[in-house]
């Protein structure tokens, strides 16, 4: 089950890399966070960790529902361009994405010996970290860059969940509040941009 969810996580991230429309991108991000939350719930119920169950629930509520909705309303409010063509052409991305994946799978090999439990998850979360970096790089517009930043946070959460059996509750909550603050800052930035222009 965890393998299935982790596959779905990577699949939604790769699909997000190839989307050219903003709302579709937000949809894939929301699906990505949903699989992440379900993964945390599954792992948490297996190892009997209440803190992880709570953070999985918060992930679904916040990242899968609230943040995409807020971003959508923000993009409507500031009339962001809904077409977000990547600056890296799709035919190059098709070469680049498998190259990144192969590279990170081998890159994560030394790290995986240090981790007890299933080592594949570390490799997949590091590769999704790099893929979200690519998502930030390949777009010029601000909205997909924000989504790339948020997916990077998702990848780190995945790393924390699967490799270490969950970060301390306090750290998780801090990260969630950070994310909300980031959205507020983005709102302010967009507002200033509109006032100045």
């Amino acid at each position: 089950m965890v393998d299935f969810l982790i596959g779905l996580f990577l699949a939604t991230l790769i699909t997000a890399l190839f989307t050219t429309r903003l709302y579709r991108l937000l949809f894939w991000y929301s699906l990505n966070s949903l699989t992440l939350g379900l993964l945390a719930l599954t792992v948490g119920s297996r190892i009997g960790d209440t803190a992880m169950l709570v953070s999985g629930g918060i992930t679904i509520a916040l990242k899968a529902l609230a943040i995409p909705y807020i971003l959508k309303t923000l993009s409507q409010k500031f009339r962001l361009s809904r077409q977000t063509p990547p600056t890296i052409k799709t035919q190059y991305s098709i070469i680049l994405v498998p190259a990144i994946l192969v590279f990170t799978f081998y890159l994560a090999e030394p790290v995986t010996h240090m981790v007890q439990g299933n080592a594949n998850y570390v490799a997949i979360s590091i590769s999704s970290l790099f893929l979200s970096l690519l998502l930030m790089i390949e777009h010029r517009n601000i909205a997909p860059k924000i989504v790339g930043f948020l997916s990077m946070e998702n990848a780190l959460f995945l790393l924390g969940t699967t490799a270490t059996g969950g970060m301390p509750m306090l750290v998780e909550l801090g990260i969630f509040f950070d994310l909300l603050m980031a959205i507020v800052v983005v709102n302010l930035l967009l507002y200033r941009e509109e006032v100045e222009s």
Partner: protein
């Protein structure tokens, strides 16, 4: 033996119904009155009664090609994964054979388009060549990746192995292979993001452009070939990616299998309603995503074993 032959007969009989089913679901979702599920049979019998006109420029290819379009597909029907346990015949053919037979059928379809010397036929043939050249590598990669997980290169035996031992530990790469194969199913059958089977709009059509000049019983053969192709892909999907419910008696297993086929058709119909047709030069991107997922499935299996 009887079960094996009955399966093939069942697939042949289901083929027109599945395409009509997709059309009916789409019409219902668009608030139209849906067509009957038997519309495929009605079209077939109507076309058989019509006379067939052949262009003056056409050579013997036009008379031979419709049979050669259909026959490789009929051959593939015999090699599909069995639908129930203890099957009479489990085929040994691998990804290359199945892809090659499908490509042979496509080759004669392209010849048929070129032979009538109309400009639409040539255009349709070149587009079909363009798309099927991109479909083949992804399809071979996908089926090989699934065969690796199943532990057998033969497609039929792979289906049996998957039903016997579902690859729980390889779920991630299995999922990638399934995504890739579903994109291929859509592309190769000319469904909406790639080709719209219902219009005769000259700029967008691919499959219809090749068969514009064909009429009568020949057209009936080509239409049958299209529906058989869909049923091949749907049952490959059902056999390789939905491998459950096979250890019942033959009638029950066949019923479950038919339900799976209709589920695949329903998924295609819902996808068709919800997406717009891609521009022709955007189609390589979609197929590129299929190749990425197929490759990803292989490397996830090899490097990570996940």
């Amino acid at each position: 033996m009887i079960g094996y032959l009955a399966t093939i007969l069942l697939l042949l009989l289901l083929a027109p119904i599945l395409l009509s089913f997709i059309k009916a679901v789409k019409m219902r979702l668009l608030y139209k009155r849906p067509v009957s599920l038997l519309q495929g049979y009605r079209d077939f019998s109507k076309l058989l009664r019509k006379e067939s006109l052949v262009s003056e420029e056409a050579s013997a290819v036009t008379r031979i090609a419709p049979f050669l379009v259909l026959s490789p597909l009929l051959l593939v029907l015999f090699y599909l994964p069995p639908i129930a346990k203890g099957a009479f015949y489990v085929s040994f053919v691998d990804a290359f054979t199945i892809t090659g037979l499908l490509a042979l059928s496509t080759f004669f379809l392209m010849l048929l388009g070129l032979d009538s010397a109309g400009s639409f036929g040539g255009m349709g043939s070149s587009r079909e060549a363009f798309i099927s050249a991109l479909v083949e590598p992804a399809m071979i990669l996908t089926i090989f990746s699934v065969s690796m997980m199943a532990g057998d290169l033969g497609v039929g035996q792979a289906g049996v192995n998957l039903a016997h031992h579902f690859p729980k530990e390889h779920m991630a790469s299995y999922l990638f292979a399934a995504i890739s194969f579903f994109i291929l199913l859509i592309a190769e059958n000319g469904r909406i993001p790639v080709d719209n089977p219902e219009t005769h709009l000259e700029l967008t059509m691919i499959h219809e452009a090749m068969i514009l000049d064909i009429s009568g019983p020949y057209l009936a053969l080509i239409e049958t070939a299209a529906s058989v192709k869909f049923v091949i892909f749907a049952s490959l999907f059902a056999g390789l990616f939905l491998p459950f419910g096979m250890d019942h008696a033959w009638p029950v297993a066949a019923a479950i299998f038919v339900v799976k086929l209709f589920a695949v058709a329903l998924a295609v119909a819902i996808l068709e309603v919800n997406t717009a047709k891609l521009r022709l030069f955007k189609v390589p991107n979609l197929l590129g995503i299929a190749i990425v997922f197929a490759f990803l499935s292989l490397i996830t299996y090899y490097v990570l074993g996940a």
